[in-house]
Structures are given as C-alpha cells and as structure tokens.
Amino acid sequence: MRNWRNLSRLLLLILLVMAGYIPVSAQEVNSIYAKEKMPSLYLLRYDTITHYKASIGFSMVQPPKDMVETAIQAPLFNFHGIVTLPWKFIVEGDVTSLIVSNQISLGPGINFSKDNFGLKLGWDAAFVFGQLKQFGFNNTTKAWLQYPNISASYQWNKMIFTLKAEAIVVSWVETKTGENQLSTDRNFFNGYSGAFYLEQRLHKNKVLVIGFKDSYVKYYWPVWLTFSTFNRFYHVPEISFSWIL
C-alpha cells in the first residue's frame, strides 16, 4: 500500500510537469457539423416549439452483492424519448428492459434554457412489470414508482455536461407466487440517485451519451426475482451508453 501511494504521487508529479509543457496549438475543427447546434437529450433549446428527440442504448448495472450473491454486471436495454412543447413544457418517456424485469416511465416537466445553460424539472411515473414462469418460478410482479427529478446542463465547446438528481418513491408493489398474491399498497421512500451525463458527437452528427449513475436504494426493480427482504440502502452503480437517433 505504501508503494502504491509513492507510485501515485510520482505519477501525479510527472503529469503535472507534462501539463505545464504541453504546447498549445489551437486549430479550428473543420467538420461541417461542428457549427450546428448539437443534438441533446438534456440541453433542450426548443422552449417554444414542439420538437422530438429519442435515443437507444444500454446500461451496465452492478446489482448489490447481498441480493445476487455474486459480482455481476447486468445489461439494461433502454429507449428514451422527449418531446418539447410550447411554453417550456416537456413530456419525457423511457422504456428499460431486462426481459424478466421491465420499466416504462412517462412524465411531464418544465424546461428552461438560455444560451449554453439548461435546467429541467420533471416528475416521472413508472410502471414496473416482471414475470418468470419457468425454472422453478411461478411469479409475477407489478409496481408503481415515482421519480421527481431535476437536471442542469451546460454546453462547453462541443460537449454537453449534465447533472441529474432524482428521488425514488415506491407507491405500490404487488408480487404473485402461484395462486397467492401479496400487495404492498404503501408509499415508501426508496432512495435517490445522482447521475452525470456527457454528450458529444461521435461520428458525423451522431451524438453519444455516456452516463454514470449511482442509485442509493432499498428496492431495486431489475432484481425483483431475488425477492430481497433486506431493509438496507445499497449503492447501485450504472454506466450507460446511448445514441441519439
């Protein structure tokens, strides 16, 4: 451990010295797309007209080891769409799927943007549905979740940075096993998440969104089949990649 600290200090020193001597050579980007406003899911510059943006992608999530009893990454496939309406209103929708677990969310919001800065406030309602009737399981689950959220975006040069925070409330959960049904018709605060997104052009005018999200939750819907009973909050990190269509 002491050697690692020494190595990291040496690395820091080398890179600091290098940074001071890197020659500056400013060159204009001559791509024809560089001068256009960059497509974005988060920095919406369409305050007064109707405009539609969508993306597809996937996330790699790391469910808590207590729930799945091993270190795995699970892929969640995702489609996200946003419609800007007049008077700064927006409607945002999302479909995320792990095949046996699925979430559809939809919600209104309000969007403010000026120059390179944007602010979005929204409230998404999500319906979770999961089913497995093979391999010794005879179970389905349904749940309603609420995601009040806020995000702030800033464009610097040809990159858009977004910070997003949301609270997560579970309004209702129903699980069926065989012929038995258990419902929890109770609002409970399930935690919150913070995310960081970076949008930039990848190729021509196609924008790649790289995101990192950390959810701090008790109930994590993609792993409902573990029937976790733990009354603890867990960090669930997630890396996401999306392409704006």
Partner: protein
C-alpha cells in the same frame, strides 16, 4: 482504502491540470480511422488478500492488444484484451503442504477513449475477465478457471505521433476485477498503427 486513494488522486490530478492556462481545442478534423495497438507492461498487484498472502509476488510483465475506431471527434470506441499475471504466492516455511499458487487474468473490455489535449487521452472500459488459478502442491498441478462478470478499466495515456500511421505511447492503467475484488495497476509502453 486503495480505491479511495485512486479516486482522490484522479480528482486532484484533474483539478491540477485545470489550473493551467486554458488551452484551445485542438481536436483535428480527420478522416475516419481505425487503429491497432500492442503494448508491453509491468503490472503491480494491490495486495488485499486477507489470508495466505505470505511470500506474495506482486510485480510481473504482461501485454495488451487494443483495436479502436477513431472517428473525427474526441471519442474513440473499441475493444481491448491482454494477458497479465496478477500474483504468485508460495506456501510459508513450516506449513503442512508446500507449493505455490499463481493467478493470471485475460480481460476482454469494451473501451471508450477520449482525447483530452494534444497528446493526452483518458480511457474507461468494462467487460469480462477470465481468471486462471494454478496451484502446484504435492507434485500435482490444479488449474481452475473463473469468469468474472463485473470488471472495469481506467487509464491515462500519452501518445506521440511518429508519422501519419505510427504512434508511440506510454499508459498507466488501473484494473478492477470484481469476482475476487482484485485491483491491479500497470505501466505500459505501446506502439499503434493507424489505418
């Protein structure tokens, strides 16, 4: 603690670099390109074994291979693999059995690389890792294989262009292999051919 140290080093590095005079964007418009990179490295295993880590060897040589698609902007996408020896432990003197245990890893990562300023790049990757444990005891060799499903790679590299097609560079990497919570860093030199 090791992980937190890495995180704070990275954040401090970022802040320190940002303190220098702002540099204008120097991303060059360039035609569509691919690149192949081969590197040789020295690895260092960050020892977090709780048990049986007497006589632990942590430094070994390794190599990597990377294929990247480099479109016209800052980002590049690709894949990386390699072969590394993580550690070798010998049984302590006086133990009931004598021998040694070696762990090797072959990661396969999906990679995203970002051009920061002129010659500096940062990369992050995730993917699979194939761990091989070789145990030599009582004249018997046991080889076991584990597939780790949760793995990450972070790296910073300095790449100097020798010509239009050839580049030379150095890179510092940090690996996290989730199956056994193994952390390893490496320093490598590499050559890149762009086409």
């Amino acid at each position: 603690m090791g992980r937190k140290n890495i995180a704070f080093v990275l954040i401090f590095l970022l802040t320190a670099l940002a303190a220098f005079p702002q540099q204008q964007d120097s991303a060059l418009a360039k035609p569509l390109r691919f690149s192949v990179t081969v590197g040789a490295c020295v690895t260092h295993y960050i020892d977090n074994l709780d048990y049986g880590n007497q006589n632990l060897g942590k430094n070994f040589a390794g190599f990597s291979f990377r294929l990247l698609w480099e479109p016209e902007y800052r980002l590049s996408l690709g894949a990386e693999t390699g072969s590394y020896t993580m550690f070798k432990v010998k049984s302590p003197p006086g133990s009931a059995i004598t021998g040694d245990i070696t762990r090797r890893v072959t990661p396969v990562f999906l990679l995203v690389r970002m051009h920061i300023v002129d010659y500096i790049y940062f990369s992050t990757g995730f993917g699979l890792a194939f761990l091989t444990n070789t145990s030599n005891h009582a004249d018997q060799k046991i080889v076991t294989n584990t597939t780790s499903l949760s793995n990450y790679l972070f790296s910073a590299s300095y790449i100097y262009p020798l010509s239009t097609h050839w580049q030379l560079g150095v890179e510092v990497k940090v690996f996290d292999f989730g199956a056994y919570n193994d952390w390893m860093n490496s320093m490598q030199v590499f050559g890149t051919f762009r086409f």
